[in-house]
């Protein structure tokens, strides 16, 4: 039986134009055998959730370097829930101060990655988290 590939949406919420990180991570996750959809720049939370639902992704990774994460990350989660996508694994990265990371952790973003993170570490974290989910679903 061939295993379904992990489907990841890499998204750029807000007006931030910095996409080097998002595109580097997207390419690396593809190299790790995941199906990766990249939204392109300047997406609203609604548009991100819409693409996530249409593409039936397992993971949504947000990249933001503009400081607007506290306004936008929670909204992406709300929009995902509205579309029955509350189950997706949420993550992200960028320039996010530690205090904000801690606050976002309570809102479903259990792991956020800062500057200097190897793409290897991100791929590994997603793989492990998805394997655990699969195991839990199997146990139910």
């Amino acid at each position: 039986m061939t295993q379904r590939k992990i489907r990841v949406l890499v998204a750029k919420p807000g007006l931030d134009g910095h996409d080097r990180g998002a595109k580097t991570v997207a390419s690396a996750l593809r190299d790790h055998g995941m199906e990766v959809i990249y939204t392109g720049l300047h997406q609203t939370p609604e548009a991100i959730a819409e693409i996530a639902a249409q593409e039936d992704v397992d993971v949504v990774g947000l990249s933001i370097l503009s400081g607007a994460h506290m306004a936008l990350f929670p909204r992406v989660r709300v929009e995902l829930e509205k579309r029955g996508m509350g189950h997706v694994l949420l993550t992200g990265g960028g320039i996010i101060p530690q205090d904000d990371m801690a606050a976002l952790e309570t809102q479903g973003y259990t792991k956020l990655f800062g500057p200097g993170t190897p793409t290897e570490a991100i791929a590994k974290w997603i793989t492990v988290a998805m394997a655990e989910r699969l195991k839990n679903e199997g146990a139910q």
């Binding site: 910095h18 580097t24 690396a28 607007a68 200097g116 290897e120």
Partner: protein
Amino acid sequence: MTVDRSRTEVRAVDAHALWQAEFDQAKKRGVEFTSLSGAPLQPLYGPADVPLGYESELGYPGSFPYTRGVHPTMYRSRLWTMRQFAGFGSAKQTNERFKFLLAHGQTGLSTAFDFPTLMGYDSDHAHSLGEVGQVGVAISSLADMEVLMGGIPMAEVSTSMTINGPAPILLAFYIACGERQGVDPKLLRGTVQNDILKEYQAQHAWLVPAEPALRMITDVMGYCARRVPQWNTISISGYHIREAGSTAAQELAFTLANGMEYVRRGKAAGLDVDEFAPRLSFFFDSHLDFFEEIAKFRAARRIWARKLRDTFGAKDPRSWMVRFHTQTAGVSLTAQQPENNIVRTAFEALAAVLGGTQSLHTNSMDETLSLPTEKAVKIALRTQQIIAEETEVAHVIDPLGGSYYVEALTNRLEAEAERYFAEIERRGGVVPATEQGYVQKEIHRSAIAYQAAVERGSKRVVGVNCYTEDEQGPTIELHKIDPAVEREQHERLSALRKRRDASKARRALDEIHDACKSRDNLLERFVAAAHADCTLGEIADVLRAEFGHYREPKIL
């Protein structure tokens, strides 16, 4: 005589072969000996690597082809302008930071705008939620600009504004603001970035598609040539291309290719090349590969001089000169052990100075974590002052000129840039090459190659993949943006819309609409609209409705 010389040559060849043999046998460190851009490097450079025609390749400072510098005296007459990029929160807060920097010896202003401003949205637009004042100052109207420049003598200070898509609108606010301070536009000095091509390629803050955007740029060139003659109408920028991941050669090539496109557009709009080319300026990154960066600055001067004189027929030597601003490489900074960034920045700043920059921004140590604190900014500024005052490097012009290594690098970068120019030409020019995503793909390819090199350890980053430490959160104090700024901006805008003469504002916007359809100069209309208290978003909405939105090509 002849015999003696040939003997010397034989001995020199023997000496070289001897060294080569010793070198080949010796044990080497287990790293890749490549430049930061991944280019292979010889262990030694000598006369054979640089078949140098001194007059044609180097010449003298202040004369063609300007490899050694654009001024005959360089820093013996005047040091570079120390210009720290600043902007955050409200116009009032940034005004205070400007005054702080001027009080500590900074000699020019440089404005960072927030993302809503960069994208042409007012602070109270739905898309602006959470972004107001975050990465720069929020400027939605002439009233905001008046607060930003309050108490700063606009006839005396030179101001750089880093904005592109809506650049003509912000420039209109600045001109109108000067007029309200009683300053003749002829006295205004400064730069507006206004380089839309690199926005599509790398920085990604745009307003409308390429053709109307380029038309607005030629409108700015035409208007300023007549009315604001000391203003630099475009800062053709490699910085963002490099920060997005390009190599040094790509930064050089794409920046100059964009520059040549602006020259073609200006000429096609009926302007004389010598009327606008002297007001074009450049903006480069200074990264960690010290010699490669110095060579890049030197190559930029030589290439541009040759293109402008020989390809575009410019007669005025001022049209041939690359005058440039430099910023140290933001991407070279690490969130880990952030104080080390002071050292990285110092090396990069020194490369910019040895490369002959006209102005310089040094990054602050905390910029991978947040906008900089006053303390971090002051250390960054002091870094420049130490180079200028204590190291004595500014006394000698182009001190690395004649170094076999630096000259070989300069030649290599020029040749690599020429290969890119040919490829761009083959794709129909820089606009089609960008619309097809070619430039973006090249930059992306370099970005992932670098990331892979760091992850396999062949490129070393202290604190990231070597000499790492366990760190519990940031060890330095961070700058925070007050969320009240967004609310206050909403209040200011709603008060402005109530207070202004609504019919006058409406008429000014209608005139912009009409000018979009005709060939009338748009900047002239923007200045009138600024005086009528039209907002940035209102003006940009007219342009978006008339010209449409830009859609980025899919490259991934």
